[in-house]
Subunit: 375 residues, 2 copies
């Protein structure tokens, strides 16, 4: 029973989780393309096992900790999403085995050379893709930087360490309609294929041509020539993704259970025991059409309470009010009542908690699935 | 050696920590007032033991987890800072003993009655203070709400569960000069004394008249009549506190060690392996005179690099650039180089990590002090 839980805590709706996984499964099945889930959102063994069952033994990670904690899930083909720095290679190598391949990403020739040197010195075969930078805002090689692409891929390919190219349409999170997302997805695929072609023309095989973000992976883009789609946050969805337009509010599988501390009539607010330690400081919806403050409020059963949002947070206090300009009324609650808060960004809110309390409409039992953070 | 650490990770400068503790020790010694450190910032046994040595066996906590993890430090008088909800009482009671007192805060009569009922039913004596709300923005009783103050204190006092009044000048974090902070500190003390007087006049003893925040505790306010000062973030300090004016940048004891992934010449940026997972999303300096983005950058030795700040963060990527409008130059760095980033808000950045790497100028060794999160 929810009322037996110590608040604040994280609730995961199992039915919604399963539906969200099925949603992307149906897309990749139709397109006959490999899918590589990003494990950074859940950081959880039980959820990883569900993903392995649907999508096979490949996954993306954002930390070595994820790789180490989740390799017992059956995954044998890890892609590390952050362009590698050489001082991480020896810890990665400890996780290599005959049946577990680990691929990192590189974006400059000096790191590629270090990877080769590491292989020559230790015999540990850490393979790599070239990270592409589609919009010039992060790490990565630009898709038209032919000389760099060929230099890096040749350097790696000579020792059979090269696997292909990887891109991520990060800017898709800033969009809000189907047309723009489709065009962003097309651009992601087109630019990645241009880079892959450049490398293939130089006589080097791109086994992996991997792209993705939750919005572009869910788009209508056909992705011809792409070998693999990636996405992470789709398992839970969140308010930002609903603002982008790729999910409905009632598909969001994650919420924070919270207890009412008191009612402040002076400012028409409900004070709850979830501050930024429980919700995160993410304000990802602040630049979207609908700003949910620090989260949309639901009743104990997860049903939306119209226009009731977390307007401010302190370390352990949340201030819930009716959205400015709305004529909705503050619900009639008393100290001790329970509420649930939908997250702006599932990755950030989940990171504030050490486990998921998995609820299932089919029965009353609550399962505990542990999660972890760290690098 | 710092270069042997796996980045991102948290560095704690032991010399600065000791100086910061001495700074507040000298203030409370002169004023002959009790000091109650807030353990929510560090959440660390070793640091709690240092505080017990300087200030005695009392402390403030923001979670029951802190109380459970830190009671082995020698503390026997815990004050729980968040107004209590009744479903937390039974877990709190498990930690009571003949030599460990736990005091919660209440802000309404129904919770006070529940506390009394809990005592009558179980025999567990959880004492309470009345939380005062100085500015009408959170939970708490208003200092002039005489009827409420007397009703709650009488209800508790009848069963010897009443200890006094507690206030927190949260608005002090928004100030930026000594005069305003002093006036805020005076207001915090004055309003709290008014409430205490109301209760005392009704024949009920206020053993505890406790006030504080890092800025007001460090102010010049004399605090006559107040029994206890509280503060938390002063142990580390941070960029927000430097903006308030109660510390210098070189007093900040906490930083995140990070590795350069690559240099993006297109946008004149250094890309590092610390994103919001390592730095937090706190933007507390955004409304201050100097905005440090997601953190001020230092070199590997902790020396400031002028006007170099983290301008943007993604989950595991930090984007470092020269502050807009500055004529400082991007330092000449290469992939693999180390940097250190000072936090906007020490509590939030520390919460992103599982331990402190404690460095000491006196020697080269690095000690590991664990920390925890959760409720």
């Amino acid at each position: 029973m929810l009322k037996d839980l110590f608040t604040p805590c994280l609730i995961l709706d199992r039915g919604k989780l399963d539906n969200n996984i099925r949603k992307i499964k149906s897309i990749v099945s139709k397109r006959k393309i490999d899918f590589r889930p990003h494990l950074k959102t859940a950081k959880c063994l039980e959820i990883t096992k569900l993903l392995v069952k649907e999508f096979g033994q490949r996954a993306m990670v954002s930390t070595i900790e994820e790789l180490e904690q989740l390799k017992s899930s059956g995954i044998n083909d890890f892609l590390y999403s952050v362009a590698i720095v050489p001082n991480k290679l020896s810890r990665i190598a400890k996780n290599l085995s005959n049946d577990c391949k680990i691929t990192v990403s590189v974006d400059n020739i000096s790191t590629a050379q270090e990877l080769v040197a590491f292989y020559k010195n230790t015999g540990h075969r850490i393979t790599a893709v070239i990270e592409l930078d589609l919009d010039g805002h992060r790490s990565g090689v630009r898709p038209y930087a032919n000389e760099q692409l060929i230099k890096i891929s040749k350097c790696l390919d000579e020792f059979d360490l090269f696997r292909g190219v990887m891109s991520h349409a990060g800017e898709s999170y800033g969009l809000s309609n189907e047309k723009d997302i489709n065009s962003c997805a097309k651009n992601e695929a087109d630019q990645t294929l241009i880079a892959a072609e450049t490398i293939e023309k130089a006589g080097i095989n791109c086994e992996l041509v991997t792209i993705g973000s939750t919005p572009t992976a869910l788009s209508g883009c056909k992705n011809i020539g792409i070998t693999e789609l990636r996405a992470g946050v789709f398992i839970f969805f969140d308010l930002v993704q609903s603002g982008v337009g790729v999910c409905e509010l009632n598909e969001i599988a994650l919420s924070v259970l919270t207890t009412v501390i008191s009612i402040n009539r002076e400012i028409d607010a409900i004070i709850v025991d979830s501050g930024w330690m429980a919700l995160s400081r993410d304000r990802g919806t602040s630049s979207q059409e609908i700003d949910y403050g620090y989260g949309q409020v639901c009743n104990e059963n997860g049903e939306l309470i119209d226009d009731l949002i977390v307007t401010n947070v302190q370390q352990e206090h949340g201030i819930i009010q009716v959205r400015e300009g709305s004529d909705a009324k503050l619900p009639n609650l008393k100290p001790g009542d329970l509420l649930r808060i939908l997250p702006n960004h599932a990755c950030a809110t989940a990171a504030a908690h050490s486990c998921y309390h998995v609820v299932n409409n089919a029965d009353d039992s609550i399962k505990i699935w542990n999660r972890f953070n760290g690098w």
